[in-house]
């Protein structure tokens, strides 16, 4: 009866914390006009193949179905949702605002890690592009983190970047396709020592900009400083201007407190085409949420559907959650009764349950009715009438 390596059981306390978060977030998304969808747990591997990077591909759970086709447990939701909305009639009735909650599956990056199955809650805005849509999604991701403050998520920050930054640098570097790929890999691996030793481009005017990327982070002024300090080409200027427009909207929403512009932000998935962002906390080394724009995800299948979205990682949020929260449930009421009281106790228990008070019934061998709250005996006797008021009083005093 061993637990599968990399998997994890969740017991009541933990599940309850997770459901509380889900509740808050679902509620928020609904109020912004997003509707829940539910893609299946498995997809044909060929659906995912085009959108995943090489490392991500190796971590997909794959198996063969009865027709001999390769299927996979979903490693993320975005591709599934794009598949759902790639149907012609849905593509023509945009925009769609949808959200989802569920498990994603990836083989752990190391056998020492428990991360084979993670819970994601996220949303997609399909069919619209432009700075206002991107700002809506970023504002919503901030609102999600702000809404979770009441559940003990503190000290969070949101970094906004743009894939056009690195692409802009790449476009003006005199490199072959394979050299560009290895440059990209170095950037993803955050190996700036190897990057600095990439001697074939070390005299290029944008090389210092490339090496400084991890430090080009700040509020609005980082854009001005960057424009002043580096010889930017036009794709780079466009990306910076775009980030400035987003910043303006976010600051008109008065949401800029937790937001930073990070020109060195790189995401793992290759499908992003515009703005990208990541929420994180100093209490965890991994992002709490991540997202961005991916207008060309369906391009390989010949369809066009602009989209922007993000996903929250619930287990990581729970990891940074402050634990000093009030115990959020009344210790269960247990009524232990002799068999002759069976029908009256059942009627009483049903009445309590309808009022929202959880009641457990146990038939005992004693003469008396015993009522326990948790392990504490709060009544012993034969007067069923008294029990009802006693329990209601206890419940009320706990609720207030």
């Amino acid at each position: 009866m061993e637990l599968v390596l990399g998997m994890k059981d969740s017991y009541p306390r933990e599940v309850k914390r997770k459901r509380e978060m889900e509740f808050v977030l679902r509620h928020l998304f609904e109020r912004w006009g997003y509707e829940e969808v539910e893609p299946p747990t498995i997809e044909y591997y060929s659906t995912l193949e085009n959108t995943l990077g090489d490392e991500a591909k190796e971590r997909v759970y794959k198996f063969v179905d009865r027709n001999g086709k390769l299927v996979s447990l979903r490693p993320e939701f975005t591709t599934s949702i794009m598949r759902m909305y790639s149907k012609k009639e849905l593509r023509e009735s945009t925009p769609h605002r949808v959200y989802y909650v569920g498990k994603i599956f990836r083989y752990p990056s190391s056998p020492l890690r428990i991360e084979g199955e993670l819970t994601q809650l996220g949303l997609e805005n399909l069919g619209k592009n432009g700075v206002d849509t991107d700002a809506e999604i970023i504002a919503l991701s901030l609102s999600a983190l702000l809404a979770l403050q009441e559940l003990g998520i503190e000290d969070f920050m949101l970094d906004i970047g743009h894939v056009g930054i690195f692409q802009g640098v790449l476009s003006s570097l005199p490199l072959s396709h394979s050299e560009k790929l290895s440059l990209k890999t170095l950037l993803k691996k955050k190996d700036f020592v190897a990057l600095e030793n990439f001697t074939s481009i070390s005299s290029h005017p944008l090389f210092p900009f490339l090496l400084h990327l991890p430090f080009l982070r700040g509020k609005r002024e980082i854009l001005e400083e960057t424009r002043k300090n580096y010889p930017l080409n036009s794709p780079l200027i466009d990306a910076l201007d775009y980030l400035e427009e987003i910043w303006n909207i976010i600051s008109d929403f008065h949401l800029e407190e937790h937001v930073f512009i990070n020109l060195g932000l790189v995401r793992d998935f290759d499908y992003y085409t515009g703005v990208v962002f990541e929420g994180f906390s100093p209490r965890s080394g991994y992002p709490l949420l991540a997202g961005g724009r991916y207008d060309e995800l369906l391009e390989k299948s010949g369809n066009n559907l602009p989209a922007c979205g993000f996903a929250l990682f619930l287990e990581r949020l729970m990891e940074v959650q402050k634990e000093n929260l009030k115990e959020s449930r009344l210790p269960f009421i247990t009524i232990n009764y002799p068999s002759r009281f069976r029908s009256s106790i059942f009627a009483l228990a049903e009445k309590m349950r309808k009022e929202g008070i959880p009641v457990i019934m146990e038939e005992g061998k004693g003469e008396d009715i015993q009522v326990l709250q948790g392990k504490e005996l709060i009544y012993q006797g034969k007067d069923e009438g008294k029990i009802k008021t006693l329990i209601q009083e206890r419940f009320k005093s706990w609720e207030s």
């Binding site: 955050k190 991890p214 965890s284």
Partner: protein, 213 residues
């Protein structure tokens, strides 16, 4: 934001790391080379310092127990920690090599069926063998790697070499220099965001002092 926490490896690289850091402007003399204290928090120091086992330094940084750290490239290649590699440091210099007995030529070695290679770096060795198309069993050892061929435990070794003295003493020779190794300055991916300015200044100052060796 408090001070940066820096992880410095004990052992071979400790003295060199402290010597390098003490050349930084505003850094007081780091006079605890021989101290066995593991955590140093002092008013006059620009960082809180944790002395870690050399193999653990980058793990401290990956998990955020330290914001920045000094670690050998050999450890980064073996552990593949998710950290920013910011600077190549002029300390802990050596080479990762494939070495075999003097009596065995490269051709003889690679022609062997059921080739066995002993190493302290099983992950790295596995990748290296795969990339160079060599089929071999990897024997993982904790120490005295150079002893493996003479006693018949392995046909060759993958290990660090600095002067080559140990190899010669065990009648081994370098078959291939795989990769040059030296110390690296690494940073935690979240710390580089939350302490971006401090880390940037440290990198800048280190670059500056490294130019005047």
């Amino acid at each position: 934001m408090g001070k940066l926490t820096m992880s410095i490896p004990t052992g071979r690289m400790k003295e060199e790391s402290l010597a390098l850091l003490s050349r930084l402007p505003q850094c007081p003399p780091l006079d605890f080379v021989n101290s066995r204290q593991l955590v140093v928090e002092r008013e006059d120091l620009p960082w809180r310092i944790i002395f870690s086992h050399p193999k653990d330094s980058s793990t401290y940084v990956e998990f955020g127990a330290a914001d920045i750290g000094i670690v050998g490239k050999d450890i980064l290649l073996e552990r593949e920690n998710e950290v920013y590699e910011l600077l190549q440091l002029p300390i802990g210099k050596c080479t990762m090599v494939l070495a075999a007995p003097l009596s065995t030529s490269r051709e003889e070695l690679l022609e062997k069926e059921a080739l066995r290679i002993a190493t302290k770096y099983p992950n790295f060795t596995r990748r290296y063998l795969q990339e160079s198309g060599i089929t071999a069993n990897v024997v993982f050892l904790y120490g005295s790697i150079e002893l493996a061929p003479p006693i018949g435990l392995a046909d060759a070794i993958v290990d660090l070499v600095s002067t080559g003295k140990t190899l010669r003493e065990n009648r081994l020779q370098v078959v291939e220099e795989i990769v040059p190794i030296s110390g690296r300055l690494v940073a935690n991916p979240v710390s580089i965001k939350t302490h971006s300015k401090e880390i940037y200044l440290l990198v800048r100052d280190l670059k500056e002092v490294m130019q005047h060796v």
